[in-house]
Chain length 246, copies 2
DNA sequence: ATCGTGGTCTGATCCAGATCAGAGCGCCGG
DNA sequence: CCGGCGCTCTGATCTGGATCAGACCACGAT
């Protein structure tokens, strides 16, 4: 049996038991060693959905919460709209990252999730995965880990940082996350607009523009519309160190 | 058998099985109905520790993570120190609230926790409670809920808010949390300094002073050193609504 | 009592980044 | 081909809150 692209065979019992290789959970399960019946359970509650087109919503604030999802391809933006109608971007999610965690334990999603480009997802029914986690310590651990990581991530941008520090930290973070998934750490495409970045970094979009051009003038990077190349990753990481706490 | 103050008997088997009534977990367990053997397990991994004196550290950044803890009395401040030696306060924890959650899945605590006054805690060994959670769905759910709540809490102060909005939100939040524990919602003692509040709200301590005195001049509250009385809670909540998202 | 020391308050000044305004420009549809 | 429309960039001005400076005050130690 040949594995389809982007999928990894997890059992060889004649049936087409496949599991998307980018799912964070699959990794956790693999680490525990194969257990056919458990993996079959996990498989059953996984659903590959999409593609969502650019601008299409995956869920909206107030929708009933019933699942978390791992991004398999594309970029997802989560955001809330404040009382004055302004958008507060909570995060960008690249392939391999999990959306919907902040909704756990709430009956409804507390934010909106929208596709920034063509997006495909792995959907995990939450009641089912929670039940399964009770039987698979590794999975429970992985869920705790993901939740805990998000707490740390959320407090990253809460600090008193300058526009330069925020921008550098954002770029370095993207770079590392791309690298972790096997993409280039120095050349990538920004799938969000300047305004999206600004709303995430709590800056004005004009400031984002200015900082990027100044970074370019200083030889730190080269940027042209959505395409960016980090020329001095070390120096950028140095700028970002106070935000990323290292 | 008489229950000691602040404790609730959870079994009546002749042994002194007590469980502190303010622990968030005990509530979760009670909801599931009594199961002697499970509650005995839970009891075994709970340890009442303290009192910690004002200024005493409960854990420090880099300490090996092995337990979370519920505050039984007093106030705990968690913080990190940035590269320039400045303190970033991550949160204040009142009785009934749980510290150490952001350390889950990390080998070490990512922040410091210090007592702001006399503090007593309920300590839960994490490996043990995670194992127990696998057998008690209600407990697992409660842990997920606590983690998820912290994600939301962390993004609260991340937004672009004015000093007035931040201050109002902080006071309203304290008020509600005190009220939830049966204390007065309108008169309470601020157990932290102006500088602590400033470091939490990402303001300068001078700004905290000024905003508080202006709020007092506007008749919203009355404040004298650490003691505060909210005179117009509704108006304060109105000011805070954009931060608290309601 | 005196001193010292944190914590608090208040005024004066400064500045990073917001806001306002408007000009290019890539891209899509007709 | 031309408009039109997002998105992006750049300059000019404004401002909320930081920073600097210092006074006051409660409280504990000597």
């Amino acid at each position: 049996m040949k594995a389809a692209p982007g999928r990894t065979p997890i059992a060889d019992d004649g049936d087409a038991l496949h599991f998307c290789s980018t799912c964070a959970f699959s990794a956790a399960c693999m680490e525990q060693g194969y257990d056919k019946s458990q993996l079959r359970d996990l498989h059953v509650l996984v659903e590959h959905i999409g593609p969502f087109r650019e601008g299409e919503h995956i869920f909206r604030e107030g929708d009933a919460f019933n699942a978390i999802a791992a991004v398999r391809g594309g970029t997802v933006k989560t955001y809330v709209t404040d009382t004055e109608g302004r958008e507060q971007v909570q995060g960008f999610f690249l392939p391999g990252e999990v959306i919907g965690l902040s909704a756990i334990s709430h009956p409804r999603y507390p934010c909106n999730a929208v596709a920034l480009d063509s997006v495909v997802l792995c959907r995990f029914s939450f009641p089912n995965i929670a039940a399964l986690a009770a039987r698979m310590p590794g999975l429970q651990q992985q869920l705790f880990r993901l939740l805990s990581l998000d707490i740390g991530k959320a407090s990253l941008l809460a600090g008193n940082f300058t526009a330069d520090e925020r921008m550098a930290a954002f770029l370095v973070s993207l770079s590392r996350r791309f690298a972790a998934r096997g993409f280039s750490a120095t050349r990538f495409r920004l799938s969000m607009t300047r305004t999206d970045m600004a709303n995430y970094l709590r800056l004005a979009s004009e400031t984002v523009s200015r900082v990027l051009t100044r970074f370019q003038d200083d030889g730190l990077l080269r940027v042209e519309r959505r395409d960016i190349e980090l020329l001095q990753p070390t120096q950028l990481a140095q700028l970002a160190r106070s935000v990323l706490r290292e």
